[in-house]
Point group: C2
């Protein structure tokens, strides 16, 4: 039932973009799947739908006719569904994991459209260490996570960047003259630590690490106490309760920007609720 309409949707999107890669990205399917979906359609119909030229893709005559059919069929379906919606699609429960900072700084704006569209959905918000986000997601404890996303995700997860913040060096206001030599307070592990390590390595120095706390918030507390210079995403600094006692140290080159993403299990994108979350938090 629904499956068939997914094929039609893919076809229609492709008929508009005339670009396999683009449709593949927009519709969250691998290029292979898209190719074979179209091949299945063409085989089932017994007609070529697209001309694949080296200059790109174009609709064949049959493709145009089938497009008309697909639009009509999908419209019929949409009409039916509007009049007889699935009551289950508008309710349910969604568990979202976010770091404390993401909670404060990003979630309100990020989730507002979804919240407005589906007010009956109960949102469970879990917070914790950024490093735990993906594990919680993978284990099925939560349905979505907002956190720094590593370049290589575990297989079954997909993510989309929802914000980019820079990494900044920060120290206690009364130690601002210490510069970038003094002892450092670095996260024990995680993406920020890796970025910091890369930055030091790029300058050919080995930092003097004075402390390695677990979370960004705790890190800032140590920095405010004068334990050393810290590295955090600016977003964390801006939302810190101790930001008045801290100051940013300019660094050249500046550390790499730090992307924060919304991450979900790929298979969940088929669930209507998750699909809605994904598209309503998108661009």
């Amino acid at each position: 039932m629904v499956n068939d309409h997914r094929e039609l949707r893919l076809f229609l999107h492709l008929a508009q973009t005339l670009n396999f890669g683009r449709t593949s990205l927009d519709c969250h399917v691998s290029p292979a799947t898209l190719t074979r979906t179209v091949q299945r359609l063409e085989a089932g119909l017994g007609h070529q739908l697209f001309d694949r030229g080296p200059r790109g893709v174009s609709l064949t005559a049959e493709g145009h006719r089938f497009r008309a059919y697909a639009i009509e069929a999908l419209g019929l379906w949409r009409t039916y569904r509007e009049e007889h919606p699935d009551p289950a699609e508008l309710t349910g429960r969604l568990a979202v994991f976010a770091t404390v900072t993401a909670c404060q700084a990003l979630l309100p704006d990020l989730l507002a459209p979804f919240r407005a569209a589906h007010p009956q959905v109960r949102l469970d918000l879990r917070t914790g260490d950024a490093a735990a986000a993906l594990a919680r997601l993978d284990e099925g404890e939560v349905d979505a996570a907002v956190a720094g996303i590593p370049a290589r995700l575990p297989g079954p997860l997909v993510s989309r960047t929802v914000a980019v913040t820079e990494l900044v060096f920060v120290t206690a206001r009364d130690r601002a003259d210490a510069g970038l030599d003094g002892p450092f307070v670095l996260p024990h592990r995680g993406l920020v630590r890796e970025a910091a390590d890369r930055w030091f390595r790029g300058r050919g120095v080995t930092p003097d690490v004075a402390a390695e706390p677990d979370g960004h918030e705790g890190l800032l507390t140590l920095v405010a106490l004068g334990c050393g210079t810290g590295v955090v995403p600016r977003l964390v600094l801006d939302n810190s309760a101790v930001r008045d006692r801290l100051t940013v140290l300019p660094a050249t080159p500046p550390p790499e920007p730090f992307p924060i993403g919304l991450c979900v299990r790929r298979t969940d994108l088929r669930r209507p609720l998750m699909s809605a979350l994904w598209s309503l938090t998108g661009p």
Copy 2:
């Protein structure tokens, strides 16, 4: 694509018969599949479509509305397909196996509607021993077989009875007074032999077997030569070249009727051509 329409077709058929068993038989799916297809539909829509009472099944209000949608959607699809038929569905090649007798007596009438509907399809007709029919089918040498069908088919095959003939005892006209005691000419193996054996066992006698030829036609020749009393489907007798020299001996109780079926591989029923053959040879 096509899959979805199969679901709609099943639903519409069931909405008309209001009987799972009947629809299951007519549409060549197991009851389990039908049940779950409907369950899938209902789950996908989020609405009950049928009320299952002990007294039978009835459409719910949602069921009626969905039925209207299904009819419309299927009509849209049929219209599209009529205007843009799959050229591959009308051509191709079909290998049919049949016993000599089935060829002569049944195939013309059986295949006429199919032939009329798909004149471009090339029909390859293979003949041979009835016992070989299922083997040829299973090995993929032929696409369909017309022959006596055992009660238990090999897993991947399905059959439908297309004719029923009685088994008759037959002897040479000039030995008609020999009765049912004389020596017998029985097929060496196969369904007729099994039925004959059961008949003898039911009467508690052990037949005096004078010959065990391989095919029914050869058997009749031996009988005509006076070698003994034979057992054959009446259909074979009626189409025999030597029938003028033979006579039927009444037997009580008469041997069990002998069903002749059209048999195909189950998976082939999805191929449009085979599906057409199946439905056009049906009731």
